[in-house]
Symmetry: C2
Subunit: 188 residues, 2 copies
Amino acid sequence: MTNSDLAAGKRARLVAAACQMVHEQGVENTTLADIAQAAGVPLGNVYYYFKTKNDIVRAVVETHLDEANAMLAAIEAGHATPGERLKAVFAGLSEQTELIARYGCPTGSLCAELDKRADGPGITADLLRVPVDWAAAQFEAMGRSDGRDLAVELIARYQGTALLANTFRDPGLMEREAARVAAWIDSI
Amino acid sequence: MTNSDLAAGKRARLVAAACQMVHEQGVENTTLADIAQAAGVPLGNVYYYFKTKNDIVRAVVETHLDEANAMLAAIEAGHATPGERLKAVFAGLSEQTELIARYGCPTGSLCAELDKRADGPGITADLLRVPVDWAAAQFEAMGRSDGRDLAVELIARYQGTALLANTFRDPGLMEREAARVAAWIDSI
DNA sequence: GTCTATAGCCAGATAGAC
DNA sequence: GTCTATCTGGCTATAGAC
């Protein structure tokens, strides 16, 4: 293992810790000391890997983006029909109901927080554009000319349900909505 | 005008300023100095009306709650059938599309931010429970035994669409979804 | 009740030894 | 590349004159 491997490992640990802390506490309430401690890295060393706190936040956003793309690719590989794929994506997003009920959707709550800032859209828009575009393509493959509207409806329904489940601290709400969405997709 | 009237006026100005600043910047990024300046009140004087910043946040939440109740009461008075009322509530919530596209739904983004904190649910749950309960009652009045599920779907759809419209900075997205929801309600 | 000045704290960022 | 010590600024909250 080379030095750059070690460096990459530390950087990766910092980003992973940042993802978790930001999900649990939000961007503003998460300090660099929090992230450094969670990653087992001394505070001062953080600045060797990231110039500013904002750089870490950008890395978190990009990590979520990569994970979203990976998840959609895996679903596309594992399911043959567009309907199965759409049900799989909602089920996959809704998977960790306890975590969503406690801290909200990781990407949704991140978008909500960063959207207050002037540079929000440039950073976060892709986080929601990627699943919406993907779902639109699936609906269109089912022969629907209003695929984009249906995609917006699907993702909005997931994000809204995650907010309700989080605010009510009710994981069952997310589960029930996942079942109802599956029935809706089957009816299309 | 008595002294307590003046005091109430000042307090009301502070709360109104806090509502706006919190909507635009979020809770964490809004300082007491921001609120005081927007209300035209010296910083030190804020503490005569509110012991802590958290007390102001609580006042903001209660203001939103009062406004939600007032809005629902007005809709109930102005529309005869449950279907008309449900369409009116979604239309009312979606009204200021430009503001939503820039800063998100005032109550939704507030819930998302406060939900990260341990005391979140106790404070914000009513903000979403009130419209959900109200919508459930309307759907049940239409003879639907699954009124609660439909109410969750309706509010989730609004909140999720607001998040998408905000992230994409696209007011038109909110407008289009309002029309689609109206059609959906008509079909029930 | 009102307002100025400031205390106290904490977070982001940096300097510089190793 | 790593880490300790520290600087700097801004924010909540308070003290105390008026």
